[in-house]
């Protein structure tokens, strides 16, 4: 009897506390239940403080904005960055940055919304499409398309030049909730293919143009001791850890990466090529390389630090990276040149490039912002060359100098190693424009040469992941969870040889069982939408 009494008491306890706290629970979102149509409201907060549609200052009377931003480990404090100090004077807008370290950032971002402690804007916060839809329809983020029309001349221009930007950031209802980082310079969208020319010369080999020739070259690297030390210790080929190699060589087998996924677009038809014959050919080729010790045996376990060390060791034959910095540091860059993608068995020679709207969800404005027009003008500055230069290079004379109209870091400044401290672009994801006018540091001559080898094979247009509505986004999420995981795990095993290609049909049928066809249809629908709108 005692026991029953006790259990009853406890259960009542639990239920009561749940109810009590439920009643008193904070209800975020209550104040936000109407979708504030501030975008239609072109009236300004105070008539005397009109926001200029162009030119500076942005407002006559100084205003303050609270902006939430992610801070990368290498960054110094944001208020001390020259770009923000100088721009504050120019624009008359004071910004108080709420700095949040990258460590634990996703949790903190979620708590921000869950507890309704909203800043005026979010900067460099990697707001995923799903988050954009959720918080946008929930009213915590405001639609930006009209603000862009009226107050973002630079962005507007970019969106006209590159139509794939608009499709990447607009929801099916026609709302834009976040602005991406935009890359227009080809070189910042590709990983160059660095080939050890010194070894080719030593072994009297030509630059390989096909997959078969590449195979022969790698074998020669492995066997014929091009570094001349009497040991077969050369590393013929390596790549970033994991399945990056699939993306790098996929183009040689006709595999494209449209819509942010493993998709080929043929005559407006969406084709997810996972499990196809071409997919098999690619994996078999990679498996051949791996099993014959031509491809780094540690490919699947190496860390970024180890990969960089291999780039700079001078003992690697073929690898891939956007810039040549690791090689520069150890001074082995003279040994390498950037080559074109090799042609596969069917003659395909595609180069993988990131989409122009590359860093999605980089900037958003919240519903508590009293000055959305001014805020839009503020961020738009960085999408023009003047703003982007200031953001990436700091102050002329102090951090950089102009040569032929292009900014270059001063050697004296580079020597201090403080580059990461003064600019938010270090660490990635900052909302701004990366054009050829501001890429001197990431696009030195050797890299430009390497990019030239890739230019003929660049895609005409690369679509970013489309914006789905919340329900579709959820459905896709659920499907892709299992499909992607299965695809990646099996691909790795195929390449490493722990899974035999006899099981290829099983691979295909499992993908089908996981409803990959349904997934394809969802992407098709989204793509049709994009085409229709354009």
């Amino acid at each position: 009897m005692k026991k029953r009494w006790g259990t009853a008491l406890v259960s009542t306890f639990v239920v009561c506390s749940m109810l009590l706290s439920a009643c008193g629970a904070n209800k975020p979102g209550n104040e936000q239940n109407t979708n504030k149509q501030t975008s239609n409201n072109t009236q300004v907060a105070e008539d005397s403080n009109a926001v200029s549609a162009d030119g500076f200052p942005i407002v006559n009377e100084s205003i303050k904005l609270k902006i939430f931003t992610r801070v990368a480990p290498v960054n110094g404090p944001f208020p001390e960055m020259p770009v923000f100090q100088d721009f504050e004077k120019m624009s008359n807008i004071q910004v108080e940055f709420i700095e949040t370290p990258t460590d634990g950032f996703p949790e903190k971002k979620s708590l921000l919304f869950a507890s309704n402690e909203l800043p005026d804007a979010l900067y460099r916060s990697n707001i995923t499409p799903l988050e954009q839809i959720r918080y946008g329809t929930g009213g915590q983020l405001i639609p930006l398309q009209d603000l862009i029309e009226g107050y973002a001349p630079n962005l507007k221009q970019l969106m006209e030049t590159y139509p794939e930007i608009r499709s990447a950031i607009t929801t099916p209802e026609g709302n834009i909730y976040a602005i991406p980082g935009i890359v227009s310079v080809g070189s910042a969208r590709t990983d160059k293919k660095w080939m050890n020319k010194a070894w080719l010369d030593k072994l009297e080999l030509e630059v390989p143009e096909t997959t078969d020739e590449l195979y022969e070259v790698l074998k020669a690297f492995r066997d014929n001791d091009p570094n001349g030390n009497g040991k077969q210790d050369e590393l013929p080929m390596t790549s970033r850890g994991g399945l990056a190699i699939v993306n790098t060589l996929g183009g040689s087998f006709g595999l494209d990466f449209q819509l942010g996924y493993n998709i080929n677009l043929e005559d407006d038809k969406v084709n997810i090529w996972m499990g196809s014959e071409r997919n098999k050919e690619l994996l078999m080729y990679l498996n051949k390389l791996y099993s014959e010790q031509l491809l780094d045996q540690d490919l699947f376990i190496q860390t970024e630090a180890q990969y960089l060390a291999k780039q700079g060791s001078g003992n690697t034959g073929y690898f891939f990276d956007q810039t040549n910095n690791p090689m520069l540091e150890t001074k082995v860059n003279d040994q390498y040149i950037g080559i074109s993608p090799v042609a596969g068995p069917h003659g395909d020679r595609l180069q993988l490039a990131a989409p122009v709207p590359r860093d999605l969800g980089a900037f958003a404005i919240t519903s508590v912002n009293k000055y959305p027009e001014a805020t839009m003008r503020w961020i738009d500055f960085f999408f023009g060359d003047e703003g982007s230069t200031m953001l990436r290079f700091g102050r002329e004379g102090e951090h950089y100098e102009m040569k032929d109209g292009i900014p270059y870091y001063l050697d004296s400044f580079l020597a201090t190693g403080d580059q990461g401290k003064i600019t938010p672009y270090a660490g990635g994801g900052a909302p701004h424009l990366i054009s050829e006018n501001v890429s001197s540091y990431i696009n030195p001559p050797q890299v430009q040469e390497a990019q030239k080898a890739l230019d003929p094979y660049m895609p005409k247009i690369r679509y970013q992941t489309p914006m789905f509505d919340e329900q579709t986004a959820q459905k896709i999420n659920v499907l892709r969870n299992d499909i992607d995981k299965y695809y990646e795990e099996q691909s790795t095993k195929f390449i490493a040889g722990t899974l035999s290609f006899d099981k290829w049909e099983e691979f295909q049928s499992t993908l089908k069982k996981m409803n990959i066809d349904e997934l394809q249809q969802l992407y098709q629908d989204a793509y049709d939408n994009i085409v229709k709108k354009n």
């Binding site: 006790g6 008491l9 406890v10 306890f13 639990v14 706290s21 629970a25 904070n26 990368a72 480990p73 290498v74 709420i98 949040t100 370290p101 990258t102 460590d103 634990g104 949790e107 903190k108 979620s110 708590l111 869950a114 507890s115 402690e117 980082g181 890359v183 910042a188 970033r240 970024e304 630090a305 180890q306 960089l308 060390a309 700079g312 990276d321 956007q322 810039t323 910095n325 690791p326 540091e329 590359r358 860093d359 580079l414 190693g417 580059q419 990461g420 672009y425 270090a426 660490g427 990635g428 994801g429 990366i434 540091y441 990431i442």
Partner: protein, 288 residues
């Protein structure tokens, strides 16, 4: 005879364990003084190679580290005191066999190890209590670790004979006096363990600080160290690694320096705590 063989076996086993544990530890110290590229390539096996103090300099010259040290010490001291009081206040009554309802209380308490509201409701609660961005957010929500409570209660139940307590009660002692004059002095070993567990728990914790603290000045040591460590974890984005390649390598050795820097205080603390694990001193003396 039996003793001699036994001792030899015991000593040998202990020696083996020592070697197995010591080797990687020595490695860590050596790696913190060696050229990171060599460490990565596996050329540092036992002793340091290409000795460099870069990593140490980098870590120790960071102002935030010293601030973090101070904060961590404060949090650990204040926190542990509160932990000890709260845990004892719960563990003792629940250890007494003559307390009706103790089973129910234990059930309520143990249930919390399995079910919880999760991060968001807890965060909202802490926010509503005004503790966000203060030291109290790190101490109050963690005032009792149920695991430790259970361990302490077990200790009371098994190491302090009920007869002694009963005798004192019959002699007219109040429960409060019983606790302070008899139980506590007999509990030195378990208190020592609790101090160790709680203090180290505070020292190593970072997640609460991550979530609740915004002011960098309030950061505990672990958070500062994690920031430093994260550099070696960065991915290359837009040459986001640009100019960082050397930093990435340096961060490799920093990893090792970081352990040494953060574990030193605890390593120093332990021998003092260990003094209290003396064999049955207290029990023996009561009998007399």
């Amino acid at each position: 005879m039996d003793d001699k063989i036994f001792n030899t076996v015991v000593n040998t086993l202990a020696a083996l364990i020592l070697v197995v544990v010591l080797y990687p530890l020595i490695f860590i110290v050596s790696a913190s003084f060696s050229d990171p590229a060599l460490v990565l390539n596996g050329e540092v096996l036992l002793w340091p190679k290409q000795i460099t103090l870069d990593a140490y300099r980098n870590v120790l010259q960071n102002d935030q580290i010293w601030n973090g040290y101070l904060n961590s010490i404060i949090y650990a001291v204040v926190g542990t005191i509160i932990n000890l009081i709260m845990t004892t206040l719960a563990a003792y009554p629940l250890s007494r066999p003559d307390v009706p309802g103790r089973g129910i209380f234990m059930f309520i308490i143990t249930l919390t190890m399995f079910f919880g509201g999760g991060l968001i409701p807890t965060y909202l609660l802490v926010k509503n209590l005004g503790m966000v961005n203060t030291m109290w957010a790190l101490i109050v929500p963690g005032a009792i670790a149920t695991y430790n409570l259970i361990v302490m209660r077990t200790y009371f139940q098994t190491s302090i004979p009920w007869e002694i307590q009963e005798a004192a009660l019959i002699d007219g002692s109040s429960n409060w006096r019983l606790l302070t004059s008899i139980i506590l002095p007999l509990s030195k070993p378990i208190m020592a363990v609790m101090v160790l567990f709680y203090a180290v728990g505070h020292w190593n914790s970072y997640f609460s600080a991550l979530i609740y603290l915004g002011d960098k000045d309030l950061y505990p040591l672990q958070l500062v160290l994690r920031e430093i460590l994260m550099i070696s974890q960065s991915d290359a984005v837009d040459g986001g690694n640009v100019g960082l390649e050397s930093k990435v390598l340096l961060a490799e050795s920093i990893k090792y320096v970081v352990i040494i820097v953060s574990s030193l205080p605890v390593l120093i603390m332990y021998p003092f705590v260990q003094k209290h694990f003396v064999k049955g001193v207290m029990i023996g003396s009561i009998k007399g």
